[in-house]
């Protein structure tokens, strides 16, 4: 297995996504990449929009779901197709919650309509987890509602 990557997992009605990497931040980035690739064919696109996203959760799983759903609502509101999200900070804060910041790159949706694949309604807690599967291998997964 490559040190980082992502894939989709079979689910009858919807779709499972799975991202892995050597840190929780990499696993979350890869899970986001899996979701964004479901939504559009992002290969070869050059980003023209940049923004940031900050999210928090009571544990890493909630942080994953908040992060993915934050990407969905921000993309919808701004009319943007996101190409990738790079986690710039992921830490456990002094009050015990988890927080992340990420830098996002995208392109205006109107410019790439022919690249759109399918609408993701939400990231769900179904099958959701973020855990260190093997030493140094973090896996983030969940089912997204299509």
């Amino acid at each position: 297995m490559l040190s980082r990557g992502h894939e989709t997992i079979d689910h009858t009605a919807d779709m499972g996504i799975r991202g892995w990497g050597s840190t929780p931040a990499e696993a979350l980035e890869e899970a986001a990449a899996a979701m964004l690739e479901l939504m559009a064919d992002v290969r070869g696109l050059v980003p023209s929009r940049r923004s940031t996203i900050s999210r928090a959760g009571s544990d890493l799983t909630e942080l994953l779901i908040e992060f993915l759903n934050g990407l969905l609502s921000d993309a919808d509101l701004s009319g943007t197709v996101y190409l990738r999200a790079a986690v710039t900070r992921l830490e456990k804060t002094s009050d015990g919650t988890w927080a992340l910041d990420a830098a996002i790159e995208g392109v205006p949706l109107d410019e790439v309509r022919e690249r759109l694949r399918i609408e993701v309604k939400a990231a769900t807690y179904c099958g959701a987890s973020v855990r260190e599967q093997d030493p140094g291998v973090w896996v983030a997964r969940c089912v997204v509602d299509l």
């Binding site: 997992i9 689910h11 009571s58 919808d76 509101l77 759109l116 309604k121 769900t124 179904c126």
Partner: protein
């Protein structure tokens, strides 16, 4: 070994006997083949629809049975096709029983244009519908709303659209709940959810949402068909969509709220999305008030699309195309307060229907006068290019399923499997060869909706009829299909 044991009740009904932490038994409408398929999936797949039926049966305050209609397949927490009724004092509300597409449903309208005329101009009609009804990812509607107006949509549903001068109020008698539920509270809906909806009222969406122009191919029940205004050759148009981004965001916002509520109220979480709050708790009340706002949003959306569909028919057929009247509209992802007879006693319950259609029998409250003696039309969307059905609710359905029936064929294959097996272009070509005009906003989405990825709708309808829960009234065949 399967994770769940089932026993046969009769040819079309199976039971997961009450055991362990189950508060009620599980009951699944299925024939021998489909129960075998569900059991084998349960052995090999991570998500097991029968286990989901069992998990729902363990929720506090559930009454009678955790039910699954014949289109059952695995969902998240609740099976798709699942129905759960909860006691108002001891029961819970669960997000898994509603989902992210709140009040997704179908409106079917009868078109007063002869079938031959529609047949002759179906390409023109398909183009007009494709152009006039906004659909696909990121599409925006012609109604641009202010913050105050979106609150009005959430409070008043389809009535908001009618008050804007779009259509006459005569539609509303033929819409579930008259197109508006009481008790919606816009203050329970986040600013993000509202902002996402400003431009989306009157948009079809994507995925499995569609517009279909269909004709009645077979009549099974003359009396009911006549009451509904249907005969062989009648042309109808069906709209399948829901509450769009607003519903998705309400679900997103409340899944964390209900997750925390499950811990607070010590409701065991058996599957991570099957989180719940007591109906009477502050969290439960807020979620219910938000879902009601989502329900109204979907009513408004379908009413706005109905207006656009009429515009398209008028454009193509002139005066002849103005005769388009609503036959019925009903949702299939819903949360409803309803009164049902339980053990001989009329009881108020909170009913969850996740991918299940309300299917009230004759003489039920809330039916249009014209249908009261007959029962409620149940609109079952077939798979793209295959048959759809209009069914009717029965007294037996009122006794057994809280007046609920199927909502579609139900998926048989995962989207991943479908993508491997089917190609969008090929599917469109096959449908065209059968005379069905297809217009698609997102071609990559088509392969996932391939007819072969779904169960045989004829069989699913037959199971419900065999069980006596719903009966066939007419079968509809597609002429034009516009996909989101």
């Amino acid at each position: 070994m399967a994770r769940v044991e089932v026993r046969k009740v009769h040819d079309y009904l199976w039971e997961i006997p009450k055991s362990g932490e189950m508060n009620v038994p599980g009951r699944i409408y299925a024939d021998e083949d489909s129960i075998r398929f569900l059991l084998s999936e349960g052995k090999s797949k991570e998500w097991d629809a029968l286990l989901q039926v069992r998990n729902v049966a363990c929720l506090p305050g559930i009454r009678k049975a955790s039910l699954a209609m014949a289109d059952i397949h695995p969902g998240y927490g609740f099976p798709i096709g699942g129905v759960g009724a909860f006691d108002l004092d001891t029961g819970v509300v669960t997000i898994a029983g509603v989902g992210f597409d709140i009040n997704c449903g179908v409106r079917t309208m009868i078109v007063g244009v002869p079938k031959e005329d529609v047949e002759a101009r179906k390409k023109e009609l398909a183009d007009a519908l494709f152009r006039i009804v906004p659909a696909g990812i990121g599409s925006t509607g012609s109604l641009k709303l202010s913050a105050k107006e979106i609150d009005e949509v959430l409070l008043r549903g389809a009535r908001f659209v009618i008050d804007r001068g779009l259509e006459s109020a005569s539609d509303l008698a033929y819409v579930e709940e008259g197109g508006m539920v009481e008790g919606a509270d816009p203050s329970c809906v986040s600013a993000t959810a509202k902002e996402r909806q400003f431009k989306q009222v009157g948009t079809l969406g994507s995925g499995n949402h569609y517009l279909e122009v269909q004709y009645v191919d077979t009549v099974y029940d003359e009396k009911a068909a006549e009451a509904f205004g249907l005969a062989v050759g009648t042309v109808v148009v069906s709209i399948h969509t829901g509450s769009r981004a607003l519903g998705h965001q309400i679900g997103t916002d409340y899944q964390s709220v209900l997750r925390k509520a499950s811990e607070k109220y010590k409701i065991p979480i058996r599957e991570s999305e099957l989180v719940a709050a007591p109906i009477g708790s502050p969290e439960g009340k807020r979620y219910i008030a938000a879902v009601k706002a989502g329900i109204n949003c979907a009513f408004a959306n379908r009413q706005a699309i109905a207006h656009l569909v009429r515009k398209a028919f008028k454009e193509v057929f002139g005066a002849e195309g103005t005769r388009v009247r609503t036959m019925y509209e009903v949702g299939h992802n819903n949360l409803k307060f309803e009164r049902h007879v339980l053990d001989g006693v009329e009881t108020d319950l909170l009913i969850h229907r996740k991918g299940a259609t309300r299917a009230f029998g004759p003489m039920s409250a809330g039916l249009p006068d014209r249908y009261r003696m007959i029962g409620q039309p149940v609109l079952v969307g077939g798979t793209m290019g295959t048959s759809s059905y209009v069914l009717i609710g029965t007294e037996k359905g009122m006794e057994e399923t809280f007046g609920s029936a199927i909502h579609g064929a139900g998926r048989r294959q995962s989207r991943k499997q479908a993508l491997k097996e089917y190609r969008g272009e090929r599917i469109i070509g096959d449908l065209a060869a059968r005379g069905i005009v297809v217009r698609v906003h997102s071609k990559p989405g088509i392969a996932e909706e391939a007819p072969g990825a779904y169960k045989d709708v004829e069989n699913v309808v037959g199971i419900m009829e065999g069980a006596g829960v719903s009966r066939r009234v007419v079968r509809l065949k597609p002429m034009v299909c516009v996909k989101g």
